[in-house]
Symmetry: C2
Subunit: 392 residues, 2 copies
């Protein structure tokens, strides 16, 4: 896999930004990126944009976000919107890297953005999120995203004796990490009892097992290998990339307590990178619901099936434990503006590998992983990022 | 630009398919493609899918169409949805070609699909189409897609003395061509008087100046240069590709009677292909509204600004005239299932260059052009396709 570098990264504060529209958020992330690149960069150097966004037609009644993003620059450059529900950001990163590898551009920006509060469309957020389900087999029957993940949680519990305490330990860890992240939506720890006693959204998932509704954007500068050092002494390299799909409806899948998409995407990313789980010090995985993190770190191979719950409860995935999972706070505490999430995961790994993560810094992080899921697993995207380019 | 081949092409009948859902239409186009490739192809050879779709979240409340398309194959391959309003199909083609040029895949399918009838969402088609406008500056003020194109028509009339008869001559020509196309939604000629006397949607555009609401899908098999002849003796080559953006709101543009996006995308595609307008025998351009075709063939350089109306009225763009524009019937008569349109344009050029267009065949067609527009010009995509690969 030819080398593509991340030469700069930025994310806005993830929060409910009632005073900002989607265009403000996108523009803010581009300006932030301009300030965040180490040297020699200004917005006029952007040759193309790939923007991950899950639902602006529904949240703001605005399509064609590629053009909206490019017009923030007052340029007429190629700019395309990629949609894969909550995996839109990860998918946009994979497409942008292809464009650089194809030799079409040397400097490309990957954006991820979502404005979920202040919905103008005649829908609710829950109803909008349900478009990530299968319309014919799930949504029309009244299923919700939380309900579908709850089925997977129940299945995991039945298969592996996973408990609600295991699920809650994901939340407690991610809030502890989020408390160290100045860009996180929730910067406070919460006790396990609060999670266990919170009202159910879809049993066994309480409201505190669910990622919040968020506004925000994240941006990455991708460059060819030749150009990376023009912008920084410390590029981060895309060592491997995998994207896989599965049936959108969970009843059609081979398992309801694992994601085949994650397994396939993870294997491809690891194969391309010539790395294994043992090379990874830090991982940002998709915990839109707490059960998602347990399934992810099993499917990616960090833990044997059924072992992720006890391991998390034992602290093995805490900051600077065996493997640091979601040091940013994850979707749960950093926030989850849908299309921005996959890009923000890469922003976090970029900062971790460059030793810029301050109070949440993972020691000696050399290789990191991002894992982004659309809906309940219809689309899964895995990237392996490293400080060493690994030749090619 | 490294060579990428179209090795197969198929489109469904474009029509109102009240008996079919979006998934049926997508699956049907994949099965159709399998039957349409000359040899050695079956659906198991597809390595990745890029699907252009403008608004399934709004029309069917279904996001994540990449996964929906891949699951029609019961495979877990990479599959990503691209959205650029009505230019989604053209944008998907450009992204898919990049993926092949990047060396990631040898055989990729580009799909375009839209199901516009039988809307389940709490919206009307007109309101859904308006998401291609600028939400803040146009849509919230009550602007519609037809209204915005009507402003451009008025501007073109004021600048160049373009008349309603010029506009109507686009419609008459495209219906005459559509009458020769068994896949077209409208397979009957209409007289100029009918267009002029039809009720206004947005003056000066009558209902017959507007493309219809359609269901349909189109599919292309893209391969690397090495693999093309495995599937056919007569591949069609992507010689040039250009995609450009502009402000989504028309008041922010440099002109209201031309599209800078088309000009920039066209120049890039021509430059890459080393072709000029004089090399093109057949062009499929974006006539979602009749004025769109006039502006397109001026912006692409086939006619000087202001000359397209009189030229069309004089028959210079008719089948086998100086330049055959929209031999398929265009969006107007072939139909305009939004995301499918850009792909269907390439299907038409594929068939024309291979001398397979039967009664609407353009004589000695060697090089063709496709031109796809998002909304009112926020995204413009141009491809140049040819029988000779042109080296590289």
């Amino acid at each position: 896999m030819a080398n593509v570098a991340l030469a700069g990264a930025y994310m806005t504060h993830f929060d409910e930004h009632w005073d900002k529209g989607l265009r403000d958020i996108i523009g803010g992330s581009l300006l932030g990126l301009a300030g965040a690149v180490d040297r020699n960069f200004d917005l006029s150097k952007i040759e193309a944009i790939y923007i991950g966004n899950a639902g602006a037609e529904l949240f703001e009644e605005q399509a064609q976000l590629g053009a909206i993003a490019a017009s923030c620059l007052h340029k007429n450059i190629p700019s395309i919107r990629i949609e894969a529900a909550c995996a839109s950001g990860g998918a946009a990163l994979s497409v942008a890297a292809q464009a650089v590898r194809a030799g079409d551009y040397d400097t490309v920006v990957v954006l991820g953005a979502e404005k979920m509060t202040d919905v103008t469309a005649p829908s609710t957020v829950t109803s909008i999120l349900s478009t990530a389900l299968d319309e014919e087999w799930e949504r029309q029957c009244g299923q919700t995203l939380a309900g579908a993940w709850a089925i997977m949680a129940r299945s995991h519990m039945a298969e592996y004796c996973t408990t609600r305490e295991h699920l809650a330990s994901v939340v407690v860890k991610n809030h502890a990490n989020g408390a160290l992240n100045p860009k996180a939506q929730f910067q406070r720890p919460i006790p396990k009892e609060a999670v266990l006693r919170a009202p159910f959204v879809a049993e066994p998932l309480t409201v505190l097992d669910c990622a919040p509704i968020s506004d925000g954007a994240a941006a990455l500068l991708l460059t060819s290998a030749q150009r990376a050092h023009e912008f920084t002494d410390t590029p981060v390299w895309i060592l491997g990339s995998g994207l896989a799909t599965d049936s959108v409806a969970i009843h059609e899948r081979v398992s309801t307590h694992s994601l085949l998409g994650t397994q396939i995407a993870g294997k491809r990313a690891f194969d391309l990178s010539k790395k294994t789980v043992h090379d990874i010090q830090v991982a940002e995985v998709h915990d839109s619901f707490s059960i998602g993190e347990l399934i992810a770190i099993e499917d990616l191979g960090f833990f044997h099936p059924g072992k992720a719950g006890p391991a998390t409860l034992a602290g093995d995935t805490a900051l600077n434990a065996n493997i640091s999972v979601n040091p940013s706070g994850g979707l749960k505490a950093r926030g989850h503006p849908l299309g921005a999430t996959g890009v923000a995961q890469a922003v976090e790994i970029f900062q971790q590998l460059r030793n810029e993560a301050e109070r949440r810094q993972v020691r000696d992080a050399q290789v990191g992983l991002t894992h982004n899921v659309g809906g309940t697993g219809g689309t899964c995207v895995v990237h392996i990022l490293g400080l060493e380019s690994g030749g090619a």
